[in-house]
């Protein structure tokens, strides 16, 4: 069965520091992988996605993620965090299951940014 694990529930970083949010997935075939961000009181916004090809994908707001098949991981990174990056981040795996393309979300990682 498909599943997504985000090991870190909360992460706090200082503004300007680098960031890495971890995501591990379980899926029987080549997965489609996504990172979404949710600001307080808002819906989820797509940061980036991986379908195939180059395993390092660039997204909006300066984020990138690297797909590592051997580790079943799709970690999100940003070299220098801004205070406006404080939000909740969700990793998701998509694939054909039960007759349709379905997204399964991780539990999320809440990011706090210290000035």
């Amino acid at each position: 069965a498909q599943s997504v694990t985000q090991p870190d529930i909360h992460i706090t970083v200082s503004e300007g520091a680098s960031l890495e949010l971890r995501c591990n997935y379980s899926y029987g075939a080549t997965p489609y992988l996504f990172w979404y961000v949710q600001s307080p009181g808002q819906g989820l916004q797509l940061l980036l996605k991986y379908f195939s090809g180059d395993t390092l994908v660039q997204g909006i707001k300066g984020f990138e993620a690297e797909f590592k098949r051997s580790q079943s991981s799709f970690n999100l990174r940003k070299p220098s965090v801004h205070w406006s990056d404080a939000a909740e981040y969700f990793c998701a795996v998509g694939g054909y299951s039960g007759g349709y393309n379905k997204l399964i979300f991780g539990a999320g990682t809440r990011l706090a940014v210290h000035p």
Partner: protein, 114 residues
């Protein structure tokens, strides 16, 4: 700027009352998903529609929840009767069936059942 629109944004009601949440998917999208978000359970998939047909509602409590798409521009999620444990944020998302699962989310309907 195309977006998924949900109403109401906030709803406070008393236990036993009927609640209806509405969603306008992005024009041209042929899939609609309803998710429920709580602190304890995270994002749970409640229902899925493709071309207005309900294909999966296995995540939805059948005795009190119902989801419909009367037309391509409107999806509804109804709870009758509502219970305090239904308090959550309900998200609607739309997409294209051929697009490998990428979804566009509305801003959610925050429901509080007293």
């Amino acid at each position: 700027d195309a977006r998924v629109t949900q109403t109401p944004r906030h709803k406070v009601t008393e236990m036993g009352q009927e609640v209806t949440m509405r969603c306008q998917p992005i024009l041209g999208h042929n899939t609609v998903f309803w998710y429920r978000q709580t602190m304890m359970q995270g994002l749970e998939l409640l229902a899925y529609f493709r071309n207005r047909a309900p294909l999966d509602d296995s995540g939805m409590p059948k005795d009190r929840f119902s989801a419909e798409m009367p037309d391509a521009t409107l999806a509804t999620l109804k709870i009758q009767p509502s219970e305090p444990r239904d308090s959550a944020v309900y998200f609607c998302a739309s997409g294209l069936a051929q697009n490998t699962g990428e979804l566009f989310f509305g801003e959610g309907s925050r429901l509080t059942v007293l």
